[in-house]
Symmetry: C2
Subunit: 195 residues, 2 copies
């Protein structure tokens, strides 16, 4: 019988595709093994556990996602950059739902802090906000608000949470508009006293 030529990388790629089809949490080692034509026990030579596989999927998906966002934002600034960022974010979340779900799992902080993906993400996000002239701690607050809104919207939309007949793309455009306005009118921190 010919060898399947497995590597950790190949297994994670197959798992990510499977996740986009059946959902991140429904990805099973047995399922991945079936898809690559191998017994489930064979995967353990390349991947420590299901937990380990999920962590690797998260890192892969995070990298892919920030790459697309970076490409969309490149060369833009201000509202243009915000709209491009938001559009790329939502498109990835909706077109690669399994990968997107992977990016949201809790990961050992030691693996993430100072990883290239994290650094790149912070770089692009804070760069996008430069045009609005915010300073710390307002910058961090603004980033948290953006992330929350983007993630919340995509999560609710993907879960079928928006039942009203109102067009979802239009609501999204409005939300991004609203965020832009918020960033323009940001309620800045009083730095003099610390209550």
């Amino acid at each position: 019988m010919p060898r399947a030529g497995l590597t950790p990388h190949r297994i994670v790629a197959v798992a990510a595709d499977l996740a986009d089809e059946v959902g991140f949490e429904k990805v099973t080692l047995s399922g991945v093994a079936r898809r690559v034509g191998v017994k489930d026990a064979s995967l353990y030579a390349h991947v420590r556990s299901l937990q380990d596989l999920r962590t690797r999927m998260a890192l892969l998906a995070g990298g892919e996602m920030i790459d697309r966002i970076a490409a969309a934002v490149a060369g833009r600034a201000g509202k243009d950059a915000l709209v491009a960022f938001a559009g790329a974010y939502r498109e990835f979340a909706l077109r690669r739902p399994g990968r997107y779900a992977a990016t949201q799992i809790r990961i050992d902080q030691a693996l993430v802090v100072d990883s290239p993906v994290m650094r790149r993400t912070a770089e692009i996000t804070y760069g996008m906000l430069r045009a609005y002239g915010l300073e710390e701690p307002d910058l961090t607050d603004a980033v948290r608000l953006l992330r929350s809104t983007f993630h919340g919207y995509c999560a609710l939309e993907a879960a079928g949470g928006f039942g009203a007949p109102r067009d979802v793309q239009r609501s999204w455009d409005k939300a991004v508009d609203a965020l832009h306005i918020t960033l323009m009118h940001w309620p800045r921190e009083e730095t003099d006293h610390d209550d």
Copy 2:
């Protein structure tokens, strides 16, 4: 051996408590059975399946959550109401993480549409926005933005997604402030032409 006195209600309550402790997705029928001192097969007399149990947990949690929010919002209007709503929302999400996760699962729409929980939620949410004088479709867009931000923030916070040393409560207050400002400056729809 004495009977445990099971009812669907009791099982769902135990499952919800268990979810708050170990996480919604880690709730298992075997685990619930162990906790009430019964064999797992016995649960099937009261609950059709794990799926069924999860749906019931979602309905229970949704009712509990909207009750707390309603109590917080009662008698308030405008920004006051928004701050109270947001505070009650986040407190529930953080203190009852399993229940909160249950409210986010996808449910058969037939079970939800026109359910008391849904009606009540819509009533309170739209009532809270009355002070801002928005009309459809802006109203729906605003509700979607609020839900997205609240959910996204709580989901990221619960998942440990906010690593920066900046105080999370303060960022939240700022986010709610920002939402208030957004609602005041809402970019209203042009109803004359449909591009």
